[in-house]
């Protein structure tokens, strides 16, 4: 370690850390304490108090309202995540181990797709789904997330495979393995950590996505959880404990992933910036 902190500065550091902890925890505290309040305790005047009699009423009501949408989000997120991870892996293999002329330029063309505001493709995309009869369906959202996920998953796998020595692939081709075999037999088995990072990243992003979700689906029973939560929170008749319980339910799957696999999550975050 660089400099040994003196005792006073250590105390100052802890005070700073605790102040920031309050900032980061504040919304979490309000959400948690409100969502466990029974209906008769929900009032603005006591919003900062802990529940006197913790109750699951809020969660039960929120779950009843949001359960179809949670299911939609799983139906959407799981296949979209897996497919885009597989595409990213094979693309990453090609761009790191099978470099061809202009491959860097073509990669940059693909990568640009990850930064665009999706508003700039939204209208043609909706028209495309209307023409193909897919508009308003979960498969339409899956297709959307797979296609617009190509840049980021390709980038992550390309960075990951570039760390793996080329000799490994070359040795295999000397032994007579063709390109496909060197991918499935050599690269794929050592790709698990890469897949974990990409899957966590895509799962979180697709689960949390809102713009496509709200514009490509219009039937409330087909909408993912993020849209349902906004509608729930926007309605005046829904009690605060239900809204906060709903927010918690919507956040729970990605939070659990983060708590269990946080290490990989951080790696995904860092891989998300262009130069790893």
């Amino acid at each position: 370690m660089a400099e040994k902190a003196s005792k006073t500065s250590t105390i100052v550091y802890y005070i700073i850390l605790i102040i920031f902890t309050i900032f980061y925890i504040l919304p979490f505290y309000v959400t948690l304490s409100t969502s466990f309040k029974p209906f008769e305790e929900v009032s603005i005047a006591t919003m900062w108090n802990l529940p006197k009699k913790p109750s699951l009423q809020g969660f039960k009501t929120a779950y009843r309202k949001l359960q179809p949408n949670l299911k939609n989000s799983f139906y959407l997120t799981i296949p979209a995540t897996l497919i885009s991870a597989m595409i990213g892996s094979i693309n990453g293999f090609a761009l790191s181990k099978l470099k061809f002329r202009y491959s860097n330029f073509l990669f940059a063309l693909i990568l640009f797709g990850m930064f665009i505001p999706y508003q700039s493709v939204l209208f043609p995309l909706i028209q495309f789904f209307q023409k193909t009869g897919l508009y308003g369906t979960i498969p339409a959202l899956i297709i959307t997330h797979v296609i617009y996920g190509i840049p980021i998953t390709t980038l992550m796998f390309k960075n990951y495979y570039e760390e793996i020595p080329d000799e490994l692939i070359e040795a295999a081709s000397v032994d007579g393995a063709n390109v496909w075999q060197s991918y499935t037999k050599i690269l794929l088995p050592i790709s698990i950590p890469g897949f974990v990072v990409v899957i966590i990243w895509q799962f979180t992003n697709i689960w949390n996505e809102f713009l496509f979700a709200v514009t490509i689906t219009s039937d409330p029973t087909k909408q993912p959880i993020t849209v349902a939560l906004v509608n729930l929170a926007g309605s005046q008749v829904v009690q605060w404990n239900v809204q906060m319980a709903g927010a918690l339910l919507a956040a729970l799957p990605t939070l659990i992933v983060y708590i269990i696999l946080g290490r990989y999550f951080v790696r995904g975050l860092l891989a998300g910036s262009v130069k790893g």
Binding site: I16, F20, Y24, M47, L106, Q119, P124, L229, L255, S273
Partner: protein, 307 residues
């Protein structure tokens, strides 16, 4: 055919389907949006008729004269500035403290990062509730209520429903900026932390032997080495900020007098509430151009550097 050539050819054919999909769904669709943005499709019937009438840049000209869109551009500018400053400032500050490796610093690191796992929609819903002003002065809510309890009532104000401004900066953006910084500062912290940990210890030790103080080490050694990270963080946060939508939609909407309005919100309303497809497309293309100004040089320099 040589092995090398075979490989290169296989590489190209593997990428080809992705190139085609990106070609259609990104580049061709952007072209279609540009085409719509220069058309007269500003009503449902015009769209259904489908007769394309080219109107040049009229939709763009009208937008730049539109006070609401002007407000949106100012809001985007100030939101981006403070969002960036907040994330880079807090991120760098916290990374340096975490890097001291005090007891429990791992816990703090994970805690500061957890908002990243949550959607903007959840963040907006919860912070929207916290910053809801209530009926002042009799029935304060959220933070205002907390201020009252702490005897700080004089700090109560209308938060994101305030129509006050300093110059072109709408004060109602402050709570939105706080929520956005809450969400993303941990990410920037993680980036800086990775950067700090990549600085060779010998370098720090050697300069300590030479009598450099902690402050000198920070400004003369660490900061220059963290420059690429600052650039990456600014690109990531900056381009995110230019297209911010979910957070605003869930937290405040346009607000009174559009104090928290953003191009993406305006675009959404034009497209889906007013059926003004051409205007909405023009907004989308302006957003794309703003992002492109930031991203294209970044991609260019990133790839020029690599072989």
């Amino acid at each position: 055919m040589s092995v090398q050539k075979k490989k290169a050819r296989a590489g190209f054919f593997i990428i080809l389907p992705s190139l085609i999909f990106i070609g259609i769904f990104v580049y061709y669709f952007i072209f279609l949006t540009v085409r719509t943005s220069t058309s007269n499709w500003n009503s449902f019937s015009a769209l259904v008729k489908g007769e394309y009438q080219f109107v040049g840049l009229r939709n763009y000209q009208r937008l730049f004269k539109d006070p609401r869109f002007q407000t949106d551009l100012w809001n985007t500018l100030f939101f981006t500035l403070f969002f960036l400053a907040g994330c880079v400032g807090i991120g760098l500050f916290l990374a340096n403290i975490i890097d001291k490796k005090l007891k429990g610093s791992n816990f703090f690191q994970n805690l500061f990062l957890f908002p990243m796992a949550i959607s903007y929609v959840v963040t907006g819903t919860v912070w929207g509730w916290i910053f809801a002003p209530g009926n002042l002065p009799s029935d304060p809510q959220g933070i205002n209520l907390l201020f009252q309890k702490l005897g700080l009532s004089k700090f109560q104000w209308m938060w994101y429903t305030s129509t006050k401004s300093i110059g072109k900066f709408n004060l109602a953006l402050i709570p939105v900026i706080i929520a956005a910084v809450w969400q993303m500062s941990g990410y920037v912290m993680a980036m800086y932390l990775a950067g700090l940990r990549a600085i060779p210890e010998e370098l720090i030790e050697a300069s300590q032997v030479d009598g450099a103080t902690g402050t000198q080490i920070f400004w003369k050694i660490k900061m220059p080495m963290l420059r690429p990270i600052t650039l990456s963080a600014m690109i990531v946060i900056g381009h995110m900020s230019l297209k911010i939508f979910d957070l605003i939609y869930a937290m405040t909407g346009s607000g009174p007098n559009n104090v928290t309005d953003m191009p993406a919100i305006y675009m959404f309303e034009q497209m889906f509430r007013s059926n003004r497809y051409a205007t909405a497309s023009a907004i989308a293309i302006i957003m794309l151009l703003m992002v492109a100004v930031v991203i294209i040089p970044y991609l260019y320099y990133s790839f020029r550097g690599s072989k």
